[in-house]
């Protein structure tokens, strides 16, 4: 069952990649990358269940944090032209 869920999430991420490549505005691309990151968090948790290694949850948490910070950093760079 976890295998099916993981496959569906990978397919959904592939759909979002279309928006990341095609997206007319830059905010579409940012949102697409953010959605892929969120799906990766869920995928990492599912991989932890599939291989029965709960340590994957730690990696999923780190990925959630870094994803959040990266989105804010990119949007700030886009808005103000610098990171300070």
């Amino acid at each position: 069952m976890f295998n099916i869920a993981a496959t569906v999430i990978v397919l959904a991420a592939a759909l979002v990649i279309y928006r990341a490549i095609k997206g007319p505005r830059i905010y579409d691309r940012v949102l697409a990358v953010n959605v892929i990151g969120t799906k990766t968090v869920v995928l990492l948790a599912l991989i932890g269940y599939i291989y029965e290694r709960p340590h994957f949850l730690d990696i999923a948490l780190v990925y959630a944090i870094i994803n959040f910070i990266a989105t804010i950093a990119f949007l700030k760079y886009r808005q103000t032209g610098g990171l300070d």
């Binding site: 340590h55 730690d58 990696i59 948490l61 780190v62 944090i65 870094i66 959040f68 910070i69 804010i72 950093a73 700030k76 103000t80 610098g82 990171l83 300070d84």
Partner: protein, 140 residues
């Protein structure tokens, strides 16, 4: 960006937990994924988030140049100090078992913890320094 109430409130909520999580990654380095380097990078990312929200001047008030410069060296000194302490108690360099901290297993455990703490301090300070130098305007 500090006028943005959503980003400010969420960041204020998240930053302490990110730092706590960095210490968790450090402390569980021998049981799960993680260790000193990863914990240091996660700790530095919390400072990066603070600087992104409040600006580089406010960030340098919290984490001044002097503090990061000193912490750079302190981490290396912890690492080297534990290695030399092993030499002084009659073992090889970084042979934790010779430390007088209980039996062999416990001494090895605590020795590796000390090494990881040294690595975390240095990596966090270096990452913060790199970010400040890269984020400063007029530096390219």
């Amino acid at each position: 960006m500090k006028d943005d109430i959503i980003i400010r409130v969420i960041s204020n909520l998240l930053i302490p937990f990110i730092q706590l999580y960095a210490l968790y990654v450090l402390a569980h380095g021998d049981l799960g994924p993680g260790g000193g380097f990863q914990g240091g990078v996660i700790f530095a990312s919390s400072i990066v988030l603070y600087v992104l929200v409040y600006g580089i001047d406010e960030g340098r008030k919290r984490v001044s140049q002097k503090i990061t410069d000193v912490l750079n060296s302190i981490g290396v000194m912890i690492y080297g100090g534990i290695g030399v302490a092993c030499l002084m108690f009659g073992g090889y360099y970084l042979q934790y078992g010779k430390l007088p901290l209980g039996d062999l297993k416990e001494a090895s455990h605590l020795g590796i913890y000390g090494i990881e703490i040294g690595v975390e301090v240095t990596v966090a300070a270096v990452m913060i320094t790199i970010f400040f130098e890269m984020a400063r305007r007029g530096n390219d």
